[in-house]
Subunit: 237 residues, 2 copies
């Protein structure tokens, strides 16, 4: 009552990173990702484009932010469907999670493209993969097989393709160096399954390539998995 003086003057809720990101998702949903510009985004919030830079570093920061927002939405959905009897049946559990993730992404058709374009990894995406690996482990898959499973699923796991921990991407980080060890240690709390998986990969295939994964080998694994499956169907037909 005392704070806002003049009547008829909208006090306009102050900007914030969260409000900016929500508005960005709204614009992308309603008018398409190509019409998400800093100027349009400010307009949606009743502010000037330059004001956004107080809450986000740059447009890339906005894109990283909305990727994490969508991944969080996915996590919220899949976490809710977990508990029921998945005893022993990792396939149905994983299947259910992936199909639910797909439903969310179908509501944000622009998202897969943005996911792919990001070079920074979203914490929420990591969390999603971590739980997926967790389910596979409970189902009896080795870390090694779970690792190859993620590669084989590729775009299917989240509705898009991403080379997780692409060795070429980071600033010279490779398995075994101090920086990587520190990262693994810090991951163990929040992302136990991913951390465990990577530990094993590092120890078992120390010199597989310069990075965590041998991209060519992973590609061929997934390819052969599919081709063999198809061939089995052919035989049976």
């Amino acid at each position: 009552m005392t704070t806002q003086a003049e009547p008829g003057v909208e006090p306009r809720t102050p900007l914030s990173r969260a409000r900016v990101l929500r508005a960005a998702v709204r614009i992308a949903d309603e008018r398409g990702i190509e019409s998400l510009t800093m100027r349009r985004l400010a307009e949606e919030l009743g502010a000037e484009a330059m004001s956004l830079y107080y809450h986000v570093a740059k447009k890339d920061d906005v894109l990283d932010g909305i990727v994490d927002a969508i991944a969080t939405e996915i996590n919220d959905v899949v976490d809710r469907i977990d508990a029921p009897a998945r005893a022993g049946d990792w396939k149905t559990a994983v299947r259910q999670r992936i199909l639910s993730a797909r439903e969310v992404l179908l509501r944000h058709p622009w998202a897969p493209g943005v996911f792919e374009s990001r070079t920074n990894v979203s914490p929420a995406v990591l969390r999603y993969y971590d739980r997926l690996v967790g389910l596979m482990r409970e189902g009896g898959l080795s870390y090694d097989l779970a690792h190859r499973a993620l590669h084989a699923l590729g775009s299917r796991a989240l509705g898009f393709t991403q080379e997780l921990f692409d060795p070429g991407a980071g600033p010279g980080a490779g398995p075994g160096d101090a920086e990587s060890e520190a990262m693994l240690a810090s991951m163990a709390g929040e992302l136990p399954h991913l951390a465990g998986m990577m530990m094993e990969v590092v120890h078992d295939k120390p010199a597989s390539t310069l990075g965590w994964c041998d991209a060519q080998a992973e590609f061929e694994f997934g390819l052969d998995l599919i081709l063999n499956g198809l061939d089995r169907m052919r035989e049976r037909a």
Copy 2:
């Protein structure tokens, strides 16, 4: 001798669509796709940006063009490795083609992203898929299984994901209408296998969805193919 008058004046080869596209690929290869601008492209050719518009309609046209150029490069490579004894072994033949396509794409790391972004289908890409379906047919796969195979391979078939003939994309084209029939007829010559495959899909599942493919069903087919394959590996381990 008589045509170019003044000495020391470079006559500068005239522009052409082909030269523009070659320059575009060169820029993308050397400085990355994000530095492929019309102005930069003109500079590379020793011309003004506006001159390009005489040879290409717009930047989208350039992107469509370089996609087709890369796909043509892939076709050139895979066509050369075909003849040798592939008797009965469709898997090795398909595998070889896909791995060769991958080699080409690794030389143009920007290409998968541009492939995905295009809404127009490249004739060379269609030709690639047509030959792939041809190999599968020779190997004993039904058109239906070949069709599902393309979806299951997804990003792996060409190093990128694309919903071929996405029903939502075209201007209201659906199976069974006159326009589609005409397209199928005109395809039969150049793309016999794709045409045959689509004929069968249209007749067998006339009302599967509004378009050629039931995206959800195809997604689940590929997903289960992978999950079942992984589960078999788990059992054996």
